[in-house]
Symmetry: D2
Amino acid sequence: MNHNTNTRARLLISCLDQPGIVSAVSTFLHQYKANIVQSDQYSTDPSGGMFFMRIEFDLFEDGYEFSLIRTAFTDVAKSFNMDWRMELASRRKKMAIFVSKEDHCLFELLWKWRAKEIDVEIPLVISNHPNLKEQVEAYGLTFIHIPVTKSTKKEAEQKAVELLHEHNIDFIVLARYMQILSPDFVGTFPKRIINIHHSFLPAFIGANPYAKAFERGVKLIGATAHYVTNDLDEGPIIEQDILRVNHRYTTEQLKVAGRNVERIALARAVTWHINDQIIVHGNKTVVF
Amino acid sequence: MNHNTNTRARLLISCLDQPGIVSAVSTFLHQYKANIVQSDQYSTDPSGGMFFMRIEFDLFEDGYEFSLIRTAFTDVAKSFNMDWRMELASRRKKMAIFVSKEDHCLFELLWKWRAKEIDVEIPLVISNHPNLKEQVEAYGLTFIHIPVTKSTKKEAEQKAVELLHEHNIDFIVLARYMQILSPDFVGTFPKRIINIHHSFLPAFIGANPYAKAFERGVKLIGATAHYVTNDLDEGPIIEQDILRVNHRYTTEQLKVAGRNVERIALARAVTWHINDQIIVHGNKTVVF
Amino acid sequence: MNHNTNTRARLLISCLDQPGIVSAVSTFLHQYKANIVQSDQYSTDPSGGMFFMRIEFDLFEDGYEFSLIRTAFTDVAKSFNMDWRMELASRRKKMAIFVSKEDHCLFELLWKWRAKEIDVEIPLVISNHPNLKEQVEAYGLTFIHIPVTKSTKKEAEQKAVELLHEHNIDFIVLARYMQILSPDFVGTFPKRIINIHHSFLPAFIGANPYAKAFERGVKLIGATAHYVTNDLDEGPIIEQDILRVNHRYTTEQLKVAGRNVERIALARAVTWHINDQIIVHGNKTVVF
Amino acid sequence: MNHNTNTRARLLISCLDQPGIVSAVSTFLHQYKANIVQSDQYSTDPSGGMFFMRIEFDLFEDGYEFSLIRTAFTDVAKSFNMDWRMELASRRKKMAIFVSKEDHCLFELLWKWRAKEIDVEIPLVISNHPNLKEQVEAYGLTFIHIPVTKSTKKEAEQKAVELLHEHNIDFIVLARYMQILSPDFVGTFPKRIINIHHSFLPAFIGANPYAKAFERGVKLIGATAHYVTNDLDEGPIIEQDILRVNHRYTTEQLKVAGRNVERIALARAVTWHINDQIIVHGNKTVVF
């Protein structure tokens, strides 16, 4: 019997709500000698809506390996017509970071990665500018400069996709990447691209949100981490946070203050994604 | 010499920024035996922008009354072409409250009024519904029911204006009053109507913000207290606050949670207005 | 089949962590035709610590009544040596409020009660002062004045206990009740007395926390809702919240500002208690 | 005439409250062609308490240099018996950082320094451990390893003091430096050493605050930036902030979460110190 975290796994389920799901899943795990250590569920409407569940469980190694359990679960999943995935907590996801010139979100992630607060592999940092090359390489990471102009955008994205596939990237973080990705690119990584928008969405969609916030005279500024879809700044929101400001803040000072809230909101969203805490349903997220 | 709060006064100034303003004002007050107890200022741009100032000072009674000082200040004000007002802190403003059926903002204000946290007179509570009559009268206040329909809206507003004038109302608080006021009405009380909008403006302008927030899947909900202008939900923002929510909240639960943040934001805005802490400039507020 | 909330129930469990609990409980509920609508669990340490669980489920009425299920669950509970309780969500708890002269926490609860945000019966409001009698009675509630002096404290408490028993009180809220309860009294209602302490415990234990906060020059003030034990201000913490202050606040202004955070923290704690969301373990709370 | 920030200056004043201070100071500045761009004041008690003021002003260069004005101000200061200082905003203060092994506060400061959010010189980073040498040097900074043991503590501090004097250090930041400084050392830099304590003081004074917070079951954890005095964790508080936690957090997870609030509180305190926004009075701070 072995309870160490190498043998911890996570199961995420979405399906139509119906009686007996929890019982079937927990009985299955019990039969396979797995011990449930955490469990969360959410029903949009107990009388016939959607059902979402996240279970964290510890495996017992003698004869009940992860692959065996995952294969066996297929039958349970079928009987409830589940959309599901089961992941070993110990498998480190491969995260690519896209960045432009603003470095605060990038370095928040890298600092947390070095401190092991964000437990991933980072095979690639991709930028449309060369500026941050040296600093990224100082972390022992690979920095790829892929310039983007109007005319080269298509090839630039193709080159990025090739690199991402080559390194088996699990998900992408846009850490203040100031290029709009094409539908083709977004479609290649559905629900796997996390962006940080520098406003409290849906306020101030699009460019220059701090200038717009200054203009409107808001008393709080915000940041929104969301999955990227083809509707600009309209994808499923993962996390939002805000900061109090006042009439004294210039647009420039709003930008500086906003950096703190951007990096905090993004780091939380990335952490939740890594820990398989997020289920996307329609244009919303369930964060367990 | 008497330092009690009966003799405290406040001076608010807006003018073009230029050298010597602070010196002129503070020297004037010193000559008139007034003692500055608090002073705040703000320049949009020290090289030729706008200058705003709020000074709180104590009067000395022997020979230097408030009316004398206020009259004498006219000369200083002229020389800098100031927009200004001087108020005795002891003069209790007359506040009218407009309400519909939702009572949480109303009772927040009434409770703080009874606790002397909000130091005003409340000559009138006006509602387009009769529901809250008994509860308001239990506070010893006058409740006026003025029904509003499409066809009677004009007369209803006229009746309200007459009552407001009759009672020398200083300002109006729309404590979840669910009627849009006409430009005529708004124009009669410029910068003197405070509304609470149940969203983090400029997100979710207009009707049903909680339903829109639910639909969008936001992770924070907000409320915005602002002065009313003729552009719906576009007036100068006084205060905003937010509350964390998650995927479990139904539209109805967002509404219930939102009440807490609405009443807090509104009460703060009203307090600042009462204490002469707000200067409106263009579509923004300076809150000292 | 009836999914209305009259038939919603809650099950709370504490026991030693061991394999098979979730499976046993969820299978039991499934057999009894109950549909789990929410489920939370927490293990202090998956390798042999404590296990806590809260399940919300809907009952099907035809032949599977609540009392039947509760009786039948005894066998499951025994096999895991559980400490447990099962409650119908529709049963309104009976809450007594104790208050002295400060009324902000009292009226926060009464307002939320009238707005049906706090869904309880309030058979009694007890006070050691007569001041709030009229206002409480205006809510249609019973106000009992039980004066307390050093020499009459014992009889005063006895009288209160009698009244509380007579009205089958489920729990007591000390809404700024400025008397220390005797061990006898506290022992009569274990884990069933909620107090609001006007500081961020464990800072500023005991009397006059705002004066102490002023003295220390803190930049945030707080409030703590906790279950009452015989160690003054040392009982299990349910909820805490804070408010930003600065050097300008006098002790009196700290008190006024603090009222807002006291009533918010207390109202949350009371809501969670009513919804059976709290399990007390040792000197801590698990809040689901 | 030159309004650029090279010629901006700041004046900080503490003295007994008395009539005419603001007038005298603002008239003085006006005579010397200085333009007040911001002004804050605070009186502990307008009838004879302490008066504190901070003025930001722009200098006009032709004939009215900073040193001239500073010298001339001596007369004004004398007449009110002021404790005062006048500083050019353009003079970059020299900050030394002390650190042990935990690097999150250090790198927060260094990242903000590189981003020019914290505008200082950092002549020295001193540590009692060698671990962070390489990473600090990657920023182009000098890292000095001064080991400290019980028997060598005195010499270690002497060595540090020599280095600090040699580099004309203005102030010291203890960025999670896990050594208690001697009264001699503290006395050498009065009101010039900023520490970050990893709790919401005065809760959890001393060692292992997160373990104590876990034990007590608090629902919020905090951090406190304060000036160092010889009473452990009792010096004047500059800034505090908190983070919501729950029963699921282990002591280790409290530590990880706490890092975020520690670095935010410390960075704010350092920023305010750099901008001459803090006046220490007794054991409290006035933060303008």
